[in-house]
Symmetry: C2
Subunit: 439 residues, 2 copies
């Protein structure tokens, strides 16, 4: 194979490629060139086959695909810990929305997106699916940080600084896409907030736009039981029936939460090809209910994992979320075999990529894919001894063990520190925003 | 106040004393002398009042009581990740017990206890309640490590290397206490395994021994629904009724798990003064059920938090466990106000101390108590911005943010590394045990 003079060889003690599932490679090198994975070979063969490669020794590390955070609102990190231990609607209507009404702005979104990018990169997340105001600003941060993202164009019937009404939101979204166009690490999705904040008319419009653009429709769906009651009263039908009627219950739909599902709806979700974006921490913290991961998984539904915003989690930590996905699935199904370690690892990587329509590009360590990979240092007491690396990644490892992160072959985290952003300045700026909110 | 020449002053940005609950102090100094907390004052007053003190600046840290890990089996860290994603009885009977049968020994217990001590200390745990074979060996490790522990004297009807039958276990326990006697950081508890592995006769004997010695009775109780069915068949009564009949359902009983409880049993537990040792990760991972924390808490039951052994968790990480205690309580009760942050922090500290009968000595930052305190560094992206320190400690902080740990005023962790034990050698030794188990 012909590679350039600046190709890299990551010499890993362990590699977990994720595809195929539940496979562990030892003493394996990943060869990266022009941002892509060009080879995966035994370490002993590197010297002969890639003598020009810059080698990076990872002697007690596992290299795995970067994590895909499949549902979040990154700028909300600025509200981390602002209001806890409250019911969803009280939390949203009396704390979060008023704070957003008072403070959300381009500068707020930039400050929050930067902090979120640092937190996610340091924790091994290389791609995130977002939904917030000023996605154009978040896009600028994504470009600078070197991370990858699918950015939502928000739509709802609640007036905010971003738009006055649903039509206004859609116009804003069209303008953002028009202005920014394509970028190899940034995609756009339409992101209607929820069935209870979006009209049939707007849903239809978004259906056309997503179909024409080959885009995802990113929606909060069945987060709580109350949403169903409200839909029955307002629309005379269940939210899923409504989406089916509007022609939106299909493979473009990526639905966050889904804590309320009948057996028939699980089957319908599988047939439709809808992806579920599972947010176990937020669902538990807000006491919304348990997404039936075990049954969805057995029905063949593609499940991805998301942290949700830090105002309801309170961390953008995919290692914590992946572990919780397994624990939550087992505990709620009373089935200890639900969501075994290797499956949760898939949910946090390749299945997240699939939900976002990016599984041709990321989500696994395979030749030809982008080099979005992370190194996890297992040399610590909490990861000893090593009986099973995949078990450790899901149940034992903490985000602080992520030592290095690459996206498209660019090293974004080195020895635990972000290379592209100024962490100290970003943390200080976030604190200034918090102080302003308290004043 | 007269203090010695070697007194210390911890100058903390924040102090969370835990008692009283939900209080935050800023720019506060903790004065430590002869292993005890002798004063808690404003930083500005230290120079004048304690000019001789060795000062330790903690400018972006919160100092809080060391965590009390209220239920575990520390040497089982050597089986971390050995068997996952299995039902409790299959996991226990086909994997854990055979491994113990083959490998448990003095050397195994020493290696595991050392690894557990490193992991717990680095994660901010300063006291743990244990139950395993060779507690005399764990005691030696506790002495050397400088950590604090209540060590269980195991009793069950399963023959092991430690004893052949229940009477043999009791003899072993009596011999251990006789041999070791008192130690200011080590206490002993009787630890019958579970109602389904201990006879009425032995329970009665242990009731007499714990009453005579003012000791705790540390028991697995109602871990699964199956245990109740089995008790009804074998003993003709519910396990709690049996313990009541045997005179053991009282304030000396500390009961791990308790996932199956009726409303009447919750009230009876409160009246009896039984402490519940809540292990949310193990209960979820083994799909045992949800301990009704919200209802127990409202009934006034003292709830402590434990990690259980690393074979079923798979970490001895009280920060992860404390967060999960809140999430688990809210999610299972469908009540977002259950187990608010400050209450889970109490469960992980003062309520753990109370369960172990040590709340006169540890569990809070109060003048006169032992200086078992930890410093948590909030200077990282995942803990920014700071709206609410107590929320951060429970929902956002990871164990890696524990920078320093003191027990009885002795610094056991400094800048994240254990000072009293050789981490590298202990990790390497643990790996040799794992390799032996695989061979």
């Amino acid at each position: 194979m012909t590679v350039s003079a600046d190709c890299q060889a990551l010499l890993a003690k362990y590699v977990v490629p994720v595809v195929p599932e539940n496979v562990l490679l030892e003493d394996t090198a990943i060869i990266i060139d022009h941002g892509a994975i060009v080879d995966v070979i035994d370490i002993s063969a590197v010297g002969e086959r890639y003598p020009q490669a810059t080698v990076q020794a990872l002697p007690h590390h596992v290299v795995m695909p970067g994590m895909v955070n499949a549902h979040g609102h990154s700028p909300m990190v600025l509200m981390r810990g602002l209001a806890d231990d409250l019911p969803l609607m009280e939390w949203l209507q009396n704390h979060i929305w008023p704070a957003e009404q008072a403070f959300a702005s381009e500068d707020f979104v930039r400050a929050g997106s930067e902090l979120a990018a640092v937190e996610m990169l340091q924790g091994g997340t290389t791609c995130f699916n977002d939904n917030y105001f000023f996605p154009n600003i978040t896009a600028e941060v994504v470009e600078a940080a070197g991370i990858r993202a699918l950015l939502g164009l928000p739509v709802m019937n609640v007036p905010t600084i971003w738009a006055d009404d649903e039509a206004g939101y859609i116009d804003q979204g069209l303008a953002v896409v028009e202005q920014h166009g394509g970028h190899d690490r940034i995609g756009w999705a339409w992101a209607p907030h929820a069935p209870y904040t979006v009209s049939d008319e707007s849903f239809c419009r978004l259906g056309e736009l997503t179909e024409a653009g080959g885009m995802r429709l990113h929606l909060h769906l069945l987060e709580t039981a109350g949403e169903i009651e409200q839909s029955l009263q307002t629309h005379g039908e269940h939210p899923i029936d409504r989406l089916v009627r509007l022609g939106l219950y299909n493979e473009r739909l990526i639905a966050a939460h889904m804590t309320q599902l009948t057996a028939e709806q699980i089957e319908a979700t599988a047939r439709a090809g809808v992806s579920v974006l599972h947010c176990p921490a937020a669902n538990m913290k807000l006491a919304s209910g348990f997404c039936p991961i075990d049954r969805l998984d057995r029905a063949g539904v593609n499940i991805a994992i998301g942290t949700d915003g830090a105002a309801s989690n309170n961390r953008l930590d995919m290692f914590a979320e992946m572990r919780l996905a397994s624990l939550n699935a087992k505990g709620s199904a009373l089935n200890p075999e639900a969501a075994p370690a290797a499956r949760s690892l898939s949910m946090a990587t390749i299945q997240g990529a699939r939900a976002l329509g990016l599984d041709h590009l990321i989500g696994s360590i395979e030749v030809g894919k982008a080099a979005d990979v992370i190194a996890v240092d297992l040399d610590e007491a909490g990861s000893a001894p090593i009986h099973n690396v995949i078990s450790h990644l899901v149940y034992a490892v903490g985000r602080h063990q992520v030592s290095d992160v690459w996206v498209s072959g660019q090293r974004l985290v080195q020895a635990g520190e972000v290379t592209t952003l100024d962490r100290s300045a970003i943390v200080a700026n976030a604190q200034r925003w918090a102080d302003k909110m308290h004043a």
